[in-house]
Symmetry: C2
Subunit: 156 residues, 2 copies
């Protein structure tokens, strides 16, 4: 993938760097007898500091199927990482909250990520890196609206 037109390559770069980082981090991530996987950590990342999210919210923010999210959450629940409680005001939905173990898992992950992120960003200026994160966050936001609207404009 030599440097040609950048625009067409964001999709491949993000997917590949994402897989690289996931692999390198997950192979270090045995935590109290639990071996999390990429989907698990993506969910935990959203739940840190955000009690009371619904499964649907997590499916949208992680860009994963709600069935996939349901199964991953069930695994995380039986591993003691989080709790799911049926909402009393709307008994269709379940409110999700990290347990203490879940918060410790997150701290553990952040700790393990340090070395990998250092080698990943060896020759990169902090300002450049911040710009990269900022751009990705805005791309994420821009496309978020696009994906949240399954069918609207051209339904005829």
């Amino acid at each position: 993938m030599p440097g040609t037109k950048p625009h067409d390559h964001l999709i491949f770069l993000t997917n590949r760097v994402g897989r690289q980082l996931s692999r390198l981090l997950l192979e270090q991530m045995e935590f109290e007898g639990f071996l999390p996987q990429s989907t698990h950590m993506g969910l935990v990342a959203d739940l840190v500091g955000n009690d009371g999210l619904r499964q649907q919210d997590l499916a949208i923010s992680t860009i994963k199927d709600k069935g996939t999210v349901a199964r991953a959450l069930k695994q995380l629940e039986s591993a003691g990482i989080l709790m799911r409680k049926v909402d009393a005001e709307d008994r269709r939905q379940k409110l999700i909250r990290l347990t203490d173990k879940g918060n410790r898992l997150w701290q553990f992950a952040k700790c393990k990520a340090i070395n990998t992120m250092e080698t990943a960003t060896l020759d990169i200026e902090p300002t450049e890196f911040d710009t990269c994160i900022d751009v990705l966050q805005r791309v994420y936001q821009n496309l978020h609206q696009q994906l949240s609207i399954p069918q609207t404009s051209n339904h005829e």
Copy 2:
């Protein structure tokens, strides 16, 4: 995923933006009766302008298992997108080359990507975007070496 510490979030941002872009692009990508998927396009992207790559090379650059690559390439071959020819000098390996249809598929994908990338980068300065691509490419390179060496330093 509100804006907290950026370093820990590159992994989630890349994975999510990658999935967003893959979804939005693939749903427009019916091409001459063939519906490519994310793995297919990742391989095609590497093969454009690069005749004679081996399956192993593609597995390393796309960060995918060689079995997965083998199966995806078989599908692409039977769809007429590429050809695999056993190397006469080393009959273990197969040299891969895009067909005319494969190159047309790539042009088609680039064409379809324009609109999506426009909305994705609406509020982003071109220089910022270039910096983002540049940083991602360097991260990719930095981690590439890390992954290509399965066991070396601490094998004791």
